[in-house]
Amino acid sequence: MAEEPAEAAPEPVAAEPAAEPEPVEAAAPEPIATPEPVAPPEPPPAVSPARRPLVKRHHWIVRAAHWLNAVLLAGMVMSGLQIYRAFPHFGLRGGPYYANHWDGKPFPRWATLGGWLAGGLNWHFALAWPFVLTGLLYLGYLLFSGEWRSLLFRPRDVPRAMQMQLYYLRLRKEHPPQGKHNALQKAAYSSIVLLGALSVLTGFAVYKPVQLHWLTAAFGGYELARYWHFWAVWIFIAFTLVHVALVFLVDPASLRAMITGWYRGRFPSHD
C-alpha cells in the first residue's frame, strides 16, 4: 500500500524562485512568505496600499476541470501502469523491442490501479470517458469565453518567452510584463493540452488498431502507438512535478486561485 503520493510532495527542485518580489505597481514590497488572510470571495473591502488587489482569476469551469483532470489523470496513469505489467515491452513479439528504461520491469503495485489486467483495463476504459469529457469541457470553455487568448502560445510569444527565460536566468532584472500568464506558462499550458490530445489519440490507436487503422498507421503502427502512449505518461509526470513545484516555490497564491477562483499574488495581469 502506498504511504506517500506518487505525485510527491514537491521536493526541493532546483527551480528559480525569484529571490525578491519585484515591485508591483504601487504595492509596497511585502515578504512573500507571510500567510495572507483569505478574504471572502467578493471584491476586497477598502484595500490598504500595502495589499495587492484581489482579482477574480479562474472561472468555476476551469477550476472544476483542473481538479477533475488531476484525479482522472492519476487514475489513467495508474491503471495504464497496471496494463503495462501484462507485457512490459514495446515491439512485435520476439523483439527487437523499442528502447525503454522499464523494459521487462513491471511497476510496483502501489503505482497501479485495478489489481490485475482486467481490473486495470476496466478502470482505464471507464475513466477514459470523463477524462475526455473534462478535456472537451475545458477546451469548450476556453473557446466560448475567449480565454484561449491568454493561454495559447503563438508565434509572437516566442520573443516574450525568451525574455522570460532571460529573467529566470537572472540575465534580465525586471519581470517582463505579462497577461494572465507569462509566455513560458503559455508554452507549457499549450503543450500539455496538445499532449492530452496526443495521449487520447494514441489511446484510440491502441484500443482499435483495426477499426481505426488510419489513426494507428499515422502513429507508425500498433507497436509504436503503444510506445508513444507510454511516453506521454512520463511527460505528464514530469509536467506535474514541475507544475506543483513552481506553484509552491514561485506563486503560492495561484493555488488559492485554482481553488476559490480569487487571486492576490505577485503576478497581476497587465492586460
Binding site: P5, W110, L117, A126, P209, V210, P252, L255
Partner: protein
C-alpha cells in the same frame, strides 16, 4: 484579521498531501470495490460503442507478406488445460453447429475443408499488449451460418471447447465479418495442439482471448453468452 481566515496555505498543502496520499493508498492495486458495478457498466457501454459505432461489418484488417511472420517460437499459445488439451479419439471429432438454426449439422474436418476457404496473413493482438503476425487458413463462419440457416431470433454465437470449460460469446456482426473463420491451419500447416487443433476460431478483428481454440460446438443464441475470461471481468466485445 488572522483569526477569521478559513485556512492558510500550509493547511491547504497539508490537506492536499493527505488527500492525495489517502486516495493513492486506497487505490494501489484496487479493483474497484463498491465501484465494480459502475466499471462493469462502463465496460458494457464500451462494448456497445465498439460494436455499433466503431466496428465496420466489411472493414478488413490489413494483411502482411508471409515474410513478415513472427518466428513461430515467439508466437505464444495459451490454454487452460496443461500441458495441452488433446482429443482421446481425434477421428471421431466433429463440430456441432446448432442452437437457433433451421438445419443443425455436424461437420467433420474434411467437410469443413471442402467449404469456401480463406487464407490471410494478419496481426494478432493480445489483450496483454503483445502483437504477432501469422498466416491462418479456414472457412468463414458466415459460410457455415449459410449452411445451417439461423432463425431471426439468433443474435449471438456461443463457442464451446474441450479445454476445461473454456467458452466464448460473440456478437453476430463480428462473427459474420468476412475475416472471421474457423481455422484449421497455422502458417500453412495443420493446426498443432498448442494452437487449438483440430479447429479454432480466428479473426484479426478480435483480441486473442475471443479466438476460441479446441472447438466442439457452435450455437446460435438469443441471449448474450458470457465467456471464460469475460465472466471474470475482461471486456466482452474484445474487438480491435
Amino acid at each position: 484579521m488572522t483569526d477569521d481566515r478559513a485556512f492558510s496555505r500550509r493547511d491547504l498543502l497539508r490537506l492536499g498531501l493527505t488527500a492525495g496520499a489517502a486516495s493513492l493508498a486506497g487505490a494501489c492495486g484496487w479493483q474497484g470495490g463498491p465501484l465494480l458495478p459502475l466499471l462493469r457498466g462502463a465496460s458494457r457501454l464500451n462494448d456497445a460503442v465498439g460494436e455499433k459505432v466503431l466496428l465496420g461489418s466489411h472493414r478488413l484488417a490489413p494483411q502482411y507478406p508471409v515474410s513478415a511472420r513472427t518466428p513461430e517460437r515467439y508466437f505464444p499459445a495459451y490454454s487452460i488445460t496443461h500441458p495441452l488439451p488433446e482429443l482421446q479419439e481425434p477421428e471421431s471429432w466433429a463440430l456441432e453447429v446448432g442452437g437457433l438454426v433451421r438445419k443443425p449439422v455436424r461437420l467433420t474436418l474434411e467437410m469443413l475443408q471442402a467449404l469456401p476457404r480463406v487464407r490471410y496473413t494478419v496481426k494478432h493482438h493480445c489483450v496483454e499488449g503483445w502483437s504477432a503476425i501469422a498466416t491462418w487458413t479456414g472457412v468463414p463462419v458466415s459460410s457455415v451460418a449459410a449452411l445451417v440457416e439461423p432463425t431471426a431470433a439468433a443474435r449471438y454465437l456461443r463457442f464451446d471447447t474441450f479445454d476445461r470449460g473454456y467458452f466464448n460469446g460473440w456478437d453476430l456482426k463480428s462473427a459474420m465479418h468476412p475475416q472471421t473463420i474457423l481455422a484449421y491451419a497455422f502458417n500453412d500447416r495443420p493446426l498443432t495442439a498448442a494452437h487449438g487443433a483440430p479447429l479454432r476460431l480466428y479473426s484479426p478483428i478480435k483480441l486473442g482471448y475471443k479466438l476460441t481454440k479446441y472447438l466442439t460446438k457452435m450455437s446460435f443464441t438469443a441471449e448474450r453468452p458470457g465467456g471464460y475470461w469475460e465472466d471474470q471481468g475482461y471486456p466482452w466485445l474484445g474487438g480491435v
